[in-house]
Symmetry: C2
Subunit: 496 residues, 2 copies
């Protein structure tokens, strides 16, 4: 951009087309989203793909400003944030393509086969305006225009996002970027809206226009929304993805290679300040394998970590205190902890006996803390896992080659988590079709739902069957002419 006076052009100048967009009231945003919904849901998925791709483009074109704002408000570091913006734009393109593919509509027909049989067609239609509550820890990927927003628009829904208070300026800047790009791409006004503040957020989920809620964050935040929705005259689904203690088991056969595992554990529970919902929360190792010393050594070289907000760093210090009060002992710390919201990463050791009794030890502490427990007999692993709350993910580290203990741990984790990993850390979630980012409560409020991957669109749909409905009155997904060019089959498996 040309700027004769040598100053960078202000954000929101006419030449960029971007204005930071402050939030409106919940009522105004929901009303606009409801008006937009008819247009969004009946627009061909191919066109909605273009809207999302336009936003991805716009995020890139405004990356300098957005990353700088994110760094100011989160302290997550420019390198990480630049990558996260790039990933978020790629995810938008991914959901756009999934939406265009149309598999999420699950269109099918039971075509008339005789005089008396009905013509029955079924599709998962767009559910309505969606309220999205993003997370603090991924301001781009799980923020104003993260997985939930993209999946909802791809599934034909309008969206109202509640800005996270940890990054209000970034939220406004992204909202402005999204709105301008959607407008320019021809999306209906109201396809996307932003609101701000706790009170407006609670008001939003009570409004009759809102048809579903998606949330990423803490258990207390998610359950507050679940409770708020229960008070509605007509309840709606709440898809809350919440924090859990993700267990990692080192089998006896893997004990000989504990050093790289210990280093990986420290790296994983401190990455992003330990502010990942998939960080390893509890490492179960064979007694006497040297894990404690290896973890202490790895942690000693770690610096203090700046957390997202003063509230989160306060909660972290209190949470570590609670863990110690519940019977955990400090194994090692990194440091120092100088500066605003900066804390020392810490590894805690805990005995299996204490774990079996102390429920506080088995609840998430957001931030750079990891628990380590040494088991004597391998059967203790099963007992401990059965005491833990279900989780988003869990891992097993095994011996090279065949390890007789892997299958039993995989089966146990499969019964209690949404994703089971072998010989790697659960930390981080790839945005691909076969991903499942979810799990039984308290990992999520809806154990069948994922907030990442192709199936993320399913949350924002509702199946409807059409019986003997004339073609012109059917939704496009079910019309004979197949105007959306979906891959569809009838009851005999014939393309239809």
């Amino acid at each position: 951009m040309r700027s004769d006076c040598g100053q960078p052009a202000p954000a929101g100048s006419a030449t960029t087309g971007f204005d930071d967009l402050p939030g409106v009231s919940a009522a105004v945003a929901a009303s606009a989203a409801a008006t937009a919904f008819a247009g969004v849901s009946t627009t061909a998925p191919t066109q909605r793909r273009r809207w999302l791709e336009a936003v991805a483009e716009a995020l890139h074109s405004r990356a300098e400003l957005l990353v700088a704002l994110a760094e100011e408000e989160t302290g997550l570091g420019e390198v990480r944030l630049r990558q996260e913006l790039t990933d978020a734009a790629a995810n938008a393109r991914y959901y756009a393509a999934v939406g265009e593919g149309g598999g999420w509509l699950r269109a099918q027909a039971q075509r008339r086969t005789g005089g008396s049989a009905a013509d029955l067609r079924k599709a998962h239609l767009s559910i309505g305006p969606v309220a999205v509550f993003g997370a603090s820890n991924f301001p781009f990927k799980f923020g104003v225009f993260g997985h939930d927003t993209c999946a909802a628009v791809a599934a034909g829904c309008s969206v109202v996002v509640k800005a996270h208070p940890a990054h209000p300026r970034l939220s406004r800047a992204i909202a402005g970027t999204v709105t301008a790009a959607l407008d320019a791409a021809g999306a209906p006004a109201g396809t996307f809206g932003l609101i701000e503040g706790f009170t407006e957020g609670l008001a939003l989920v009570q409004l009759p226009e809102i048809a579903a809620v998606a949330f990423t964050g803490s258990q207390s935040g998610g359950m507050a929304l679940v409770d708020a929705v229960r008070a509605r005259p007509l309840p709606i689904p709440v898809f809350a993805e919440m924090g859990t203690v993700n267990p990692v088991v080192v089998t006896p056969g893997a004990a000989h290679s504990i050093e790289p595992i210990a280093a990986g554990f420290v790296e994983s529970f401190t990455r992003g300040g330990g502010q990942f919902c998939t960080k390893p929360g509890l490492l179960l190792v064979p007694r006497g394998c040297g894990a404690a010393a290896a973890i202490a050594a790895a942690l000693s070289s770690r610096d203090g970590v700046r957390l997202l907000t003063a509230g989160i760093s306060d909660a972290f210090r209190a949470g570590v205190g609670d863990l110690v009060a519940a019977g955990a002992e400090v194994l090692a710390t990194g440091g120092p902890a100088d500066g605003e919201h900066v804390v020392r990463p810490v590894a805690l050791s805990v005995s299996p006996d204490v774990l079996r009794q102390g429920s506080r030890l088995l609840q998430e502490c957001f931030g750079p803390v990891g628990l380590v427990a040494e088991y004597g007999h391998f059967a203790e692993v099963g007992e401990i896992l059965s005491r833990m709350q279900p989780a988003l993910a869990g891992s097993v580290f095994s011996a090279d080659g065949a390890d007789p203990d892997v299958s039993s741990v995989v089966a146990q984790l499969a019964g209690r988590t949404g994703r089971v990993v072998v010989n790697d850390w659960p930390t981080g979630v790839a945005c691909v079709d076969a991903m499942h980012h979810g799990g039984p409560w308290p990992a999520t409020s809806r154990p069948d739902a994922t907030s990442v991957g192709a199936d993320a669109l399913a949350r924002f749909t509702r199946p409807v069957a059409f019986q003997n409905v004339p073609d012109e009155a059917l939704p496009p997904a079910l019309q004979d002419a197949n105007p959306w060019r979906l891959v569809r089959y009838d009851q005999e498996g014939r393309p239809w």
Copy 2:
């Protein structure tokens, strides 16, 4: 069967292998179901198909006794009950085949494509022991061995059924039949269990072994289970399918053929004593089309109807009284109402103005009552529909040929119901792949779920992703050798 003394052999004789099976305690049944689950879920779907088919066979072989018991306890009539048993056995075979097909597992792979990419595989695994609460109105199809039980077993889950108090002897007889057939077919002990009584039912859904709840019945019953499950330390999904007022719209263009519509309306809201969750509850007709006289004429030839229980007939009389108190007027009645639990079918007329105000008018009254409202301007239809609670199903009757009003009503009904029907009644639900028997609350507690059709299995599954898990530790559905012979694809759409 030979019986020297000329008496029919008692049910449960050694030669039949059937014993009536009284319920056990919730704790005993849940514990047995939990023990059985490991075996049920890892048994090949092909084998589970044989279990369900064996039960279907056993239902037929004991049909005389079961139908006689059902008639004694429900008064639904031998013809209807014999057909319902036949349908229930056919449904068991249907779910058995759907289970064997394996599409419900939704197995998919994101196979390793480079050095750093993960091998990610995902399937919907069997969720665990399922608690089933059957309905009073379909003692076979939605009873002890109805849609929910069959779908759960087909999806690899063990089941504990709570017997409906309206038909306790039939429930025990079916339970004995199911248990003997499953045993003989080699299913693990505990695959199926029966409990009895309100207290045991509430206890059942609180037990840690239970992983999901399926219910068919009233709003109050369904919501009581939803509330009971909320009190669990670890919540689980409750799939409650509840009663609704299903609207039927007659367009202005269809007014000239009101007589057959009126006759069909009366036939539909009195069928099975009006005890169908899909009965038409409200008929919206153009003013002055003669619907009132035609309905009165059709109803005058109807006899009194025996309802399922004294409680239901009392509730029906009270419900009709409430409707009249809320502003409805008696348009016509059938009769007489002599005999135990016998009531007069009744049509009530109500003005659109009263409908717009009276919420009581828009809640289900179980039994043979139908509301009729005459609209002046067609726009009133939209206003009334928007005031109603969402419903399981809705219909439109239209003019022959193109009718300009059909599309708008279909679109409105699609936004508020689970199934939209044109030129037929919503009453009755075919058990086919493309069926959706569900809808937004209060039709169901989970608007994405159906209790009939192939997707009914999805309720009893939970997705899990497996990342870099060695083949021998994967569940059969995801192993390279594909031991369950599922149709599976990888990320490129290649068979896998």
